[in-house]
């Protein structure tokens, strides 16, 4: 028996296995980077306005990364999300501009969003079919879909940018919940989270270390969010949408049968099959979910830049995968979760935003980002080995 087992608390803990050390690594890296940029930018990094911008910048990657977390938990991968994002986004722009849905106001925007979700889900279903039914490796299937998606985007757009989209759709990015209401929502969410955590703590499902970390992260996170959002316009609608995706996936992974199947398949597919887990259906659903989220991310991207370009979402799959891995989810599947992914996304976002803020050119940024990804995963691996 190893020391890890021994220090495990003696109570019922129905949380799926999580990588404790990894959570701390990403969190500490996040705080360190934030403080570094605050210093280098002479105090402009931690301003409300900048943090609010940062929150809008990370929404697209967050939406992709939560879906990617589920895919990677099944020991799969989806390389097509960037292209699917571009195709769905381009469809939104075309429906708005060329088909005149922009004139339809909110209803038109709703249809555009549904179109994007449908296209994403369709691409995901194709991936899922090839992975689960035809038994082709996810890497190859989604590599193919990545090229197909990019090709289709270029075909439907004629390789030209399509802009501008209608105000209703644009408001996904430009609208905010008023600061006062935002404050109430944040404090309410914090209270709810603490209440739920306290109840599971009282029932003995949560050990002190995890409980304490939850307390620190949630109160700290809430304080920063209050500072960012109440000090500048309020919570952006985009953030609401991305947070909704996170919540949905969290619930699916931790409270639904689906989540158990995802972890079981990732940990030991053969065992899952022989236990009667519907492996094919679960895998198919996972890729459809990922596709739909990529479609949604495409919509958010179009709303943010007020139009679609054929090159949208290039390398977005790598950002999403990097965020998931930095967040401690194992590429082998079966271990990890959404919590770590949020930290991974924030870390990537802080790097992008901070480096731009202190005037590092976009080209050099890529080099730094690559180095940070390698470093983060190295630290994570080392922490796990020690544990």
């Amino acid at each position: 028996m190893s020391s890890l087992e021994e220090t495990r608390p003696r109570f019922m803990n129905w949380e799926l296995p999580r990588l404790r050390a990894a959570d701390w690594t990403a969190l500490l890296a996040l705080i360190a980077c934030a403080l570094l940029f605050q210093y280098l930018s002479e105090g402009s990094f931690l301003t409300s306005r900048n943090l609010s911008n940062l929150s809008r910048q990370v929404c697209v990657n967050l939406t992709l990364a939560v879906g990617m977390t589920v895919v990677i938990l099944t020991s799969g991968i989806d390389l097509s999300v960037g292209s699917v994002l571009a195709l769905a986004g381009m469809s939104v722009a075309i429906s708005q501009v060329q088909w005149g849905w922009a004139d339809g106001g909110t209803l038109g925007a709703t249809f555009s969003v549904l179109l994007a979700l449908g296209i994403g889900a369709g691409a995901g279903a194709t991936n899922g079919f090839a992975v689960s039914r035809l038994g082709i490796t996810p890497f190859i299937v989604t590599l193919g879909m990545m090229v197909i998606g990019r090709g289709l985007t270029l075909i439907v757009s004629g390789a030209r940018a399509v802009a501008p989209v209608g105000d209703s759709l644009g408001s996904l990015s430009s609208s905010y919940l008023p600061p006062a209401a935002s404050g109430a929502v944040l404090v309410g969410a914090l209270a709810l989270f603490l209440l739920v955590s306290y109840r599971s703590f009282a029932r003995g499902e949560l050990d002190i270390a995890t409980g304490l970390r939850r307390l620190i992260v949630s109160v700290g996170g809430c304080a920063i969010a209050l500072h960012a959002f109440c000090g500048y316009r309020g919570i952006p609608t985009m953030v609401f949408i991305a947070a909704g995706c996170v919540a949905m996936v969290y619930v699916a992974l931790h409270y639904l049968r689906f989540g158990r199947f995802v972890y079981a398949i990732g940990d030991n597919r053969e065992a899952a099959l022989l236990s009667g887990v519907p492996v094919t259906r679960t895998l198919w659903s996972v890729y459809i979910l990922m596709g739909a989220l990529a479609g949604l991310a495409g919509t958010l991207d179009v709303a943010r830049v007020n139009g679609a370009v054929p090159s949208a979402g290039e390398l977005a799959e790598l950002d999403a995968i990097a965020a998931v891995v930095i967040g401690g989810t194992s590429l082998m599947g079966g271990a990890g979760g959404v919590g770590g992914t949020i930290l991974g996304v924030l870390l990537m976002g802080v790097l992008n935003n901070g480096m731009s803020l202190i005037g590092i050119t976009e080209h050099s940024q890529k080099v730094f980002k690559g180095l940070v990804i390698i470093l983060a995963v190295y630290l994570d691996t080392r922490a796990k080995r020690k544990a």
């Binding site: 129905w14 049968r257 899952a272």
Partner: protein
């Protein structure tokens, strides 16, 4: 001092702790040159920890105590050090490269250069003819009938073991450690292995033989060292002891050669009836033929046969996971059935417990509770798929107690449990569905005697509660201890159905073995 008079290996007062828990608390013994000692003990007695110390996995400094090899203090920093010193270990799970040839596996690290020069450069061209010639010569010297050109993945388990042994010989091993080498071998293959080991002993190679099978231990060993709870509790001469005494030292209590099943089966209509069952694999090769018997509720039917007789395939064919096409008639509860996959057979009330708990059975990194509830999630969740955590916990706790799984919490990963407890979790996971027919493939492979007895009791209890059970096992004592009736298979054909009354291992074995090899 005369080096020859020294024991080859002296282990004195070795202690090793993990966290606060001591895995080895006091292990000491000597091995003379050319001698074979058997190391026995229940799982968790510390055998594998000791092996890891001897093979350099736990380097010098991570344990206390002293190792002396050929009179010199032995300081191992890595497994490579151990191999250089002349210690080779053959693991339960073999460490070969399946897609490479036998020759490449044997001489991988020292492929002879093209021009025959003694060079070890990474980019030296390999002299393939020379490599194969060297490998063939090595195999021939050892008397192994294996082609150096075969791919390892095409070899049987026994042949792979031979390759491992050849590799150890090639590395001039002076001490060869074998960890449960016969767990996947047929009787004939075991005999061949023993001949090889006898020859190695004759050429002054020292052996440490780890096994649960006492008949093998008595056949092979010059001395039997018993470990219990991390201590050496006995060092016995096989000529002066009995298996009963060894077992007594291992478990600290005597166990009887008892029959676990209820003597009388209530007369009932058979639940499962098989008539003229056959199975043709996807490549057109017939695997099973002419199998027909029935299983009634409350009855345990054993399926015996040598390796490759189609024991496991029979179970896999029934639940629809064996590739290819099944022929013949299977009736379950009076209705003709043809299950296409595990979900269908599970829904019908049939649970299949696969043989390889690590590969096919359990999600090792996930918790005990997670595994126990995996096959019953549909019953524990509502229509939306929301899992009722309270009911899940209660059900898992119930199963844990019924099966006497020893674990700290239900969240503890299955990986951290002992083999016996892992096997109980696997059994529990499939029993959770409340099946009417339970198909068990090797229910106690590689677990210690104490846990075996507990699992036998659970199986007998399930049968007494009215479950129909089929047990496939390579261990005849297990078949005899558990089954009311025994179906014997030979090369995919049924060669007998025997009532377990006055039945002996010899009777079963003589049916299972081909006539010409007897």
């Amino acid at each position: 001092m005369n080096q020859e008079a020294q024991p080859l290996l002296r282990v004195s007062a070795v202690k090793k702790q993990f966290g606060g828990i001591s895995a080895l608390s006091d292990v000491s013994f000597d091995i003379e040159r050319g001698c074979c000692i058997a190391l026995v003990g229940e799982n968790g007695a510390g055998k594998s920890t000791l092996m890891k110390i001897l093979s350099g996995v736990w380097p010098q400094g991570t344990f206390t105590g002293e190792l002396r090899f050929a009179g010199e203090p032995l300081h191992l920093k890595s497994p490579l050090d151990a191999r250089k010193a002349g210690i080779s270990i053959i693991h339960q799970e073999l460490c070969l490269f399946p897609h490479l040839t036998v020759a490449e596996n044997l001489l991988l690290t020292e492929a002879p250069p093209f021009d025959g020069s003694p060079s070890a450069s990474l980019f030296q061209a390999v002299g393939w003819p020379l490599l194969y010639a060297k490998a063939s010569q090595l195999l021939e010297e050892l008397g192994f009938e294996i082609s150096a050109h075969s791919l390892v993945k095409d070899l049987s388990v026994a042949e792979r073991q031979m390759v491992e042994i050849a590799r150890a010989v090639h590395h001039q091993a002076r001490l060869l450690i074998l960890d449960e080498p016969t767990s996947a071998l047929s009787t004939r293959e075991v005999h061949r292995l023993f001949e090889v080991l006898d020859r190695m002993k004759a050429s002054q190679v020292t052996l440490i033989y780890i096994s649960h099978k006492l008949d093998e231990v008595f056949r092979l060993a010059d001395r039997i060292v018993v470990l219990r709870d991390g201590r050496t509790v006995a060092d016995l001469n096989p000529k002066e002891t009995t298996p009963e005494e060894v077992v007594r030292y291992m478990v600290g209590r005597p166990i009887l050669d008892k029959r676990y099943f209820e003597a009388s089966v209530p007369a009932a209509e058979p639940l499962l009836e098989i008539e003229g069952l056959g199975h043709v694999l996807s490549d057109g090769h017939p695997r099973l033929e002419g199998i027909g018997f029935s299983v009634a509720p409350g009855e345990i039917v054993g399926v015996a046969g040598l390796m490759g007789s189609g024991r496991s395939e029979l179970l896999r064919s029934l639940v629809g996971v064996l590739p290819g096409k099944r022929t013949g008639l299977v009736r379950f509860d009076g209705k003709v059935v043809d299950w296409k996959n595990v979900s269908e057979s599970l829904d019908a009330g049939v649970s299949f417990v696969p043989e390889d708990r690590k590969k096919d059975g359990l999600c090792l990194d996930l918790g005990v509770g997670f595994n126990l509830s995996l096959s019953i999630l549909r019953m524990l969740s509502d229509r939306l798929g929301l899992v009722d955590a309270n009911r899940e916990r209660n059900r898992a706790e119930e199963l844990r107690r019924y099966l006497t799984v020893r674990c700290g919490t239900l969240a503890q990963s299955v990986k951290s449990l002992s083999g016996g407890n892992q096997q109980k979790v696997l059994l529990g996971k499939m029993v959770a569905r409340g099946p009417r027919l339970l198909l068990l493939d090797e229910p106690t492979r590689g677990i210690d005697i104490g846990a075996k007895g507990e699992i036998y009791e659970i199986i007998a209890k399930l049968a007494a509660e009215g479950m129909a059970i089929m047990v496939v096992s390579s261990e005849l004592p297990e078949i005899l201890a558990l089954s009311h009736r025994v179906v014997v298979l030979r090369e995919g054909r049924q060669v007998g159905v025997l009532e377990n009354q006055g039945l002996t291992q010899e009777t079963i074995l003589s049916l299972a073995i081909e006539k010409e090899t007897l």
